[in-house]
């Protein structure tokens, strides 16, 4: 009987998980930061429950909603890239409307945001939050880092899901034909090695079952960055195929002007509980 219970246990786990999770989203149970590598560890913060994309938004998902594909490296299951922060919040709202959800953002395309004084950003839309709306949104930096660190299931990894970047993420050394570890970063070296994005979900997931949260493409978060030495911009997390391994550590805060694009820049969806 005990053997039978053990054999049947996975059914119950699968059934109970399926209530809160689906193929593309992972339920993240909230709480305080457990991963000591997180920049938020030890701070008096409690993250609420939320859902986060199991994968980075793919080109297939982007084209279904937006119609065209901005990516440099083409493939339905490659992450969408070459999208700026404004493109991403617009995608969130457009997809929400298409799926009958309440848009999470109010986007003032004709209203310049006075807070944004970055001369390189000619877009400067004013984007505000509709608190409580059930639509898709970008994760906050705290939510992203909490999920990347494994949430309440954290095993205290440096990268999301491992202390070895090669197991969980694509960065400049392993995103091409040869492994470039041992060399110093050099753009020509990456070009020669045919480095590029990879199909989502092709490395190991983290403790919560989330893929590519370290590496592949850097992921836009909602927040403004807090680095006073860089021009005003939004936070990018997780590092991408162009950047160094340290960019893939869960606590690394990348930043970029909100209208910035690149073939290493994409995003992951999020939703409230």
């Amino acid at each position: 009987m005990r053997k039978l219970f053990i054999l049947l246990a996975p059914f119950f786990v699968i059934i109970s998980c399926s209530e809160k999770e689906n193929k593309n989203f992972v339920f993240v149970k909230g709480g305080s930061f457990k991963n000591t590598n997180s920049s938020y560890y030890g701070k008096d913060l409690t993250i609420s429950n939320f859902y986060i994309g199991r994968y980075e938004v793919t080109q297939k998902e982007w084209v279904e909603i937006m119609g065209s594909n901005p990516s440099e490296f083409l493939g339905e299951n490659l992450p969408v890239e070459n999208v700026n922060w404004y493109d991403c919040v617009k995608y969130c709202n457009t997809r929400s409307l298409k799926e009958g959800l309440e848009p999470y953002y109010t986007i003032g395309e004709n209203k310049k945001d006075p807070y944004n004084d970055n001369g390189l950003d000619e877009i400067k839309w004013t984007v505000t939050i509709n608190e409580g709306a059930n639509g898709y949104r970008l994760p906050t930096e705290q939510e992203w880092e909490y999920a990347a660190g494994g949430g309440q299931m954290s095993k205290n990894y440096t990268y999301s899901g491992s202390n070895t970047i090669n197991e969980v993420g694509y960065y400049w050394c392993n995103s091409g034909e040869k492994n470039l570890k041992g060399s110093d970063w050099n753009w020509s070296l990456l070009q020669n090695n045919n480095c590029k994005t990879k199909i989502v979900g092709s490395k190991l997931p983290n403790e919560l079952g989330i893929f590519d949260i370290s590496g592949n493409v850097r992921e836009w978060c909602y927040d403004w960055h807090n680095n006073d030495t860089d021009p005003k911009g939004r936070v990018l997390k997780g590092g991408g195929w162009i950047g160094a391994d340290y960019c893939c550590e869960i606590n690394f805060q990348g930043n970029y002007e909100a209208n910035g694009k690149g073939s290493d820049t994409g995003f992951r969806l999020c939703r409230g509980e």
């Binding site: 054999l7 490296f73 493939g75 470039l180 950047g243 160094a244 990348g254 910035g260 694009k261």
Partner: protein, 264 residues
């Protein structure tokens, strides 16, 4: 028999459940990767730096070397025969080339140098110290000989004096370009003296140059020269840059440089 049937049934159930789990978790319509990046035909790849067989950047005998040719044209090579700071850098069949020997971190030291020989044609634009700093990313040049490194639409900074030489500063912002931090907007800055003679010992006070660059890049734009954990890109190299973009970019250049560097 009854026991056998139950086992078979249970086995079938498990197999089905596992299959269903995999099916529900698998990504559908996995399409093959393709790229719209253009493939360049008939380009001879750059030969690697010595002693490494694959890398054009690397470390040897406590020195860091870096050589690069624009568009992967031609042949470039660097050797450091005595391992004590003397090096030979050669290039041929390239449109633009940059390279030299230095250290794998930016340090506020005095760098001693002696340029033994360097090509004298008009394609030589820069001989001096160059490198990267991080947080925020900055690419910097201290030009000791030649008219100065290639900049895109550089603007003027304040002139300054270091080691009894007057340097003319230019700066340029590289917008949304690849970097070790990913695609970024970052600054290039250069101080140019340009008067260094051959076979003469000279010095570059790195810290003094960096302080002047910091002042030129804006009050809220600090320079942090610490090498981050795992990061290796705060290097500084003494070398040269040469290029010829005339004749619609069809010209190719060759040249060589020999120099010795040391820490003072």
């Amino acid at each position: 028999m009854k026991k056998l049937n139950f086992s078979v049934l249970l086995g079938a159930l498990i197999v089905s459940a596992v299959s269903l789990t995999f099916l529900s978790c698998s990504k559908d319509d996995l399409a093959p990767e393709t790229t719209n990046a253009q493939v360049q035909d008939q380009i001879e790849p750059v030969k690697s730096a010595s002693p490494s067989a694959t890398a054009r950047v690397g470390n040897q005998n406590n020195f860091f070397y870096s050589i690069d040719a624009e568009g992967q044209l031609g042949t470039i090579n660097i050797t450091s025969p005595n391992g004590k700071g003397n090096f030979n850098f050669t290039w041929s069949g390239v449109r633009q080339v940059v390279g030299g020997l230095g250290w794998s971190s930016t340090q506020r030291i005095n760098v001693g140098y002696n340029i033994g020989s360097v090509t004298t044609d008009n394609n030589l634009k820069f001989v001096g110290l160059y490198g990267w700093t991080r947080s925020p990313l900055t690419e910097y040049y201290v030009c000791e000989r030649g008219p100065g490194a290639l900049f895109n639409a550089g603007s003027a900074g304040n002139n300054y004096t270091v080691n009894n030489h007057t340097y003319v500063m230019t700066k340029s912002q590289r917008v949304q370009q690849p970097s070790i931090d990913g695609t970024k907007t970052f600054w290039q800055v250069q101080g140019r003296w340009g008067g260094a003679a051959l076979n003469t010992n000279n010095a570059i006070n790195v810290g003094a140059h960096l302080d002047n660059f910091k002042g030129a890049l804006g009050a809220d734009f600090g320079l942090n020269f610490a090498t981050p954990s795992g990061g290796t890109n705060a290097y500084m190299v003494f070398g040269c840059e040469a290029y010829d973009y005339s004749n619609n970019g069809n010209n190719r250049i060759s040249g060589a440089m020999n120099a010795t560097i040391w820490k003072i």
